[in-house]
Symmetry: D2
């Protein structure tokens, strides 16, 4: 789609697996002011499949695409091991880059990518898509507006069956960065102490069950419950605070608020609490489902990226935050393998 | 109620606060083969209130009641500090005793009560009522029948607002023993490592927010999420295993089973996963709500107690289990205060 | 229970089947200022069962009980055929009477009972218990406060399996009076036109499936969906009006309000409505669960009865309303059997 | 997408409003063996918007498109008043046609379209998309497999706010044909008697609230609850029968089965039914959510259309069924306006 008043930004996608094809679809159909002009993948079948019915040109190699197309925006959706070289190539070709999570495989690679963006004077951001889930954005607005008062606990649940796609890392590194990033984003404080347990139950090589506890500097407790062993998909974030509790459902794009009951009121329930005994209990409060405009998170994310590039504004997700999310996930694995708490300097190094 | 073929067992209740009045009601109306003949409480108003409309005789002092009534069964529902003396008195008077949780305030008191029962040749059991929730009993049956296969994780949630009754301990010692007991009961293994975080947010003296992680000897991970800060009541137990996942809801007395999807099947969902992208995902499995005969857990518990006494069978809840649940809760508090894992001998001493 | 400042009202219960035993329990334990002094049933086992553990005296015959006890309040919970003679006897003995629904078997009987109450200068009310469900009372409060604005439609659902108790009438006469009464109570207008369909599927003699439509004088449409063929119990009342929709759940004692969306706002959902197409839709509004103090409806009903007698106030449920509910149910059956609408004078005669 | 073994069928779309753009997207991206080659709309902006990023050619007039393109499959998504002329033109040009519902505005137009298809020897089908909702297809499979036994009642709910798009007919003619069609499709019998009530509450010209009852020849009762006045979207179909009850949710693409309880078993619930009274009730049965592969109904529908054309098979939806659904909706309006039942010959003429 094109806004005639301003020339469209030119976008390209590298890597046309399942996620890459999503980027192609969203750039091509859903981001105002951007034109998808090119895509690259070494596999001709993938190129054919993603490009079918679309005007964008296909390339076997990203370098040729970058040379011939003069792109403003590039989505990098390659295997993690290629994030560094492809990102650097795109930045040097003058493009702004959104690289899919995880930003890289190691701290060193991530730092090299961040440096390359600074050198090229271009934006680098990372596809931490859960920040763009409408339920999370609405939650953030309401927390900022003080609706919960002080936060006590944040509880992230990310459960489901073993995905069909090949996983070359365990569930912690694969999935926990989503929730670690969202937690830092909402809590506004750094963790000072973490502990985790993991198990390998079904997967042949990596852990597939993870539970973690974090204590943040401002007192908030963060809980993570993440695995590939649950028959049904469940992705929720529960934030409990002074004035009540919010439950965000990523899948339903739903946000429900449970208000605290009136503090001073106790109810004499005669015979009403299940089994006939009169009791005195604290009254329950209201439960409200906030209306949320449902949107496709990837469309929100790519639109935010395009707008940030256009406005010269900061990256929607700072690459440093993405690196921290990855390193914290690694610390969780460390804690689980050692059976020890990770805190102090050993934890702090993941935050720098 | 009375079964003419066998003489009714004679029951009494000591302590006529809210929970004591429940014991009175249940003994008096709902347990076959038992007659409630007496109750004791120093407060005449409490005595009057509990006894109104009932045939049972009232006493200001339990000792007089025990002397005059020749009881078979006694419920002890006094403040925790009186559990030891009243239990010992009742056992010596020849009664079998069900004492409300927590069994006692300290290990020494609990051990003295257990010894007194052995000396008197009478049964001592503890009111760990959650074992008698129909959803938990049904869950136990199905786990024993191998329906889940091997258990991976047990996740207990016990949330709600600050209760109106006076709490002279924190939320961990007050509530966690319920879930620690049910977990040991279902998992059939001992914890080898635990870690906890707590916070004191609203309560003036004790912690009101608790999260704990446990690793059991057989590899199961146990998670506890318990607080007095949540506007709505939620009490659930989720057990994830080889063949699927069970979710028991204590309040609804509900048990739902999520079967694993067919392992080998992947679905080509064209455009069906939320936002238009064709994806390959693992099929979801069936979700089944098992029908459960709803019952009042206290009635199930007191009936089980009476039947065990009649049949000379073992106590429905071994007092040693109740002691372990209390001591494990204490270890959780210890871990939270120290910011350290508790394992090895330091943990094992809670289990002996 | 007794309030020492005023002498307790003396209550008795005639008919000690399952519902009668509920009346006994509630009078005896849950209504302030009332003392249950007597109960009557020809069956000694029923007398024994209901009276076990209670102070109230038992009688084989209601006439003897009325003669010897000087009662202020009598619950009549006998088979419908005995409602007339027992009610008249109780009224003549100086008691105020609450008779269980249906008020009687025929209009003539109902009218005779109403006349006897007038002659005796005593109150006659009918056990239309659903009016006392806390969700219905809260709904009535909010409708009266204008929260819905003008009512458009009222939809009553009353579904479940075939009950074990003996039914000597069909599902329409057995259950529809509940909802017909609540609808008239909430809508504040009379029906001018009704139509129904019924079927007899499982029951050997009477209809067990019923659907009805009513048009009220003020334009409201009433819908009834009632049967004994549904595997699960569902009892809800949905009221749709100018400002939104209320859903009351009798079983959960729950009231949920769906606010209308902001009228002028349309949302441009890009790719968010299920399958990838950008659409314009009307925004949804908030959904709020109102906190309701849960109570036992029978306790609320008997307390309201006792208070009305004490205060000389009107009956909580006017016996004429109960008679109308019964006659409207009969008209529904008539419509179904004839395959015709019932309106005009043929309908109006049920309302007088 | 193209299957190299067989030449792709060539598809075109006439009418590029919101629904037309859905047809464009689905033909272009989601139907195997079909190539979207052309689209037509008099509005250049609509043409531009639908065609952006796609290879298909755009035309201002359908006649030119039909002349120049040699199409096998045409979706007609124009205003209802143009269904007849455009359908006839497409059939005469040798294309097979899927026309969106309603098939036409009048019986005469529908009959003319059906005749034109016969004359041209081409297929005409109608976009009764709800038949292709995966929950409905799964429900049909299970009903055909006898899982419910004999059907007693079918209850369709189709509620929501006033849509933003212009409606030139009332809610009955706009929405009821969906459910009338699905009911005939599932029940396998014709209605012999119908009755309806409608109201016009918010809409300036047409009715926006509708309730209908139908009696089918085989005894099934059909209920319809459809309006534009509900703040939240609800689209469900409940089928109650001999062996239990199915609830299909169109929006969630969900199918839940409630099994009948074991007939002979009654449960003695001691104190478990809400408020302390022991009761005897019929046991509840199991509730099972069947796993359903979620799909976009429009994709399922257009794929079924393409396959039927390829295989020479019958139309997925017979145009005569679509005509009957429309005429039955008209009869419902008639009944509501007259306050009379419609049966006998007056109803039968809608079925021929």
């Amino acid at each position: 789609m094109n806004d005639a008043a301003r020339p469209a930004l030119r976008a390209g996608v590298v890597g046309l697996g399942m996620m890459g094809r999503n980027h192609v679809r969203v750039w091509d159909e859903m981001v105002p002011g951007v034109e998808l002009v090119a895509m690259a993948d070494p596999d001709p079948a993938a190129l054919q499949r993603a490009g079918s019915g679309r005007r964008a040109r296909g390339y076997a190699e990203p370098e040729r695409m970058l040379a011939e197309e003069k792109l403003d925006l590039v989505s990098i959706v390659t295997p993690t091991g290629l994030h560094l070289p492809v990102t650097v190539a795109a930045l040097r070709a003058g493009a702004n880059v959104l690289v899919e999570k995880p930003i890289a495989a190691t701290r060193e690679e991530a730092e090299a990518m961040i440096a390359a963006a600074a050198d090229a004077g271009r934006m680098l951001t990372v596809g931490h898509i859960e920040r763009f889930n409408p339920a999370v954005r609405e939650l953030r607005r309401r927390l900022d507006a003080g609706e919960l008062g002080r936060i006590f606990q944040v509880h992230a649940t990310r459960l489901g069956p073993l995905p069909a796609r090949i996983r070359d890392v365990g569930v912690v590194v694969d999935l926990a960065p989503h929730d670690l990033d969202v937690m830092r984003y909402l809590v506004g404080s750094e963790p000072i102490r973490i502990y985790a347990e993991t198990e390998r139950r079904i997967h042949t090589e990596h852990e597939d069950l993870f539970n973690g506890i974090m204590k943040f500097a401002n007192g908030v407790i963060g809980i993570l419950d993440i695995n590939w062993l649950t028959p049904t998909k469940r992705r929720t974030l529960t934030v409990t605070g002074e004035r009540g509790m919010y439950v965000a459902d990523y899948l339903a794009q739903d946000l429900v608020f449970y208000a605290n009951p009136e503090a001073a009121e106790t109810w004499q329930n005669r015979g009403a609490d299940g089994f006939g005994a009169p009791i005195t209990s604290v009254a329950e409060g209201e439960m409200t489902r906030r209306p949320i405009r449902r949107e496709e998170p990837l469309a929100v994310e790519l639109t935010a990226f395009a707008e940030a590039v256009r406005d010269g504004g900061p990256p929607p997700v700072e690459p440093h935050d993405a690196m921290v999310a990855l390193l914290l996930a690694r610390k969780m694995v460390e804690s689980a393998l050692s059976g020890q708490v990770v805190d102090g300097a050993a934890l702090a190094e993941a935050l720098t």
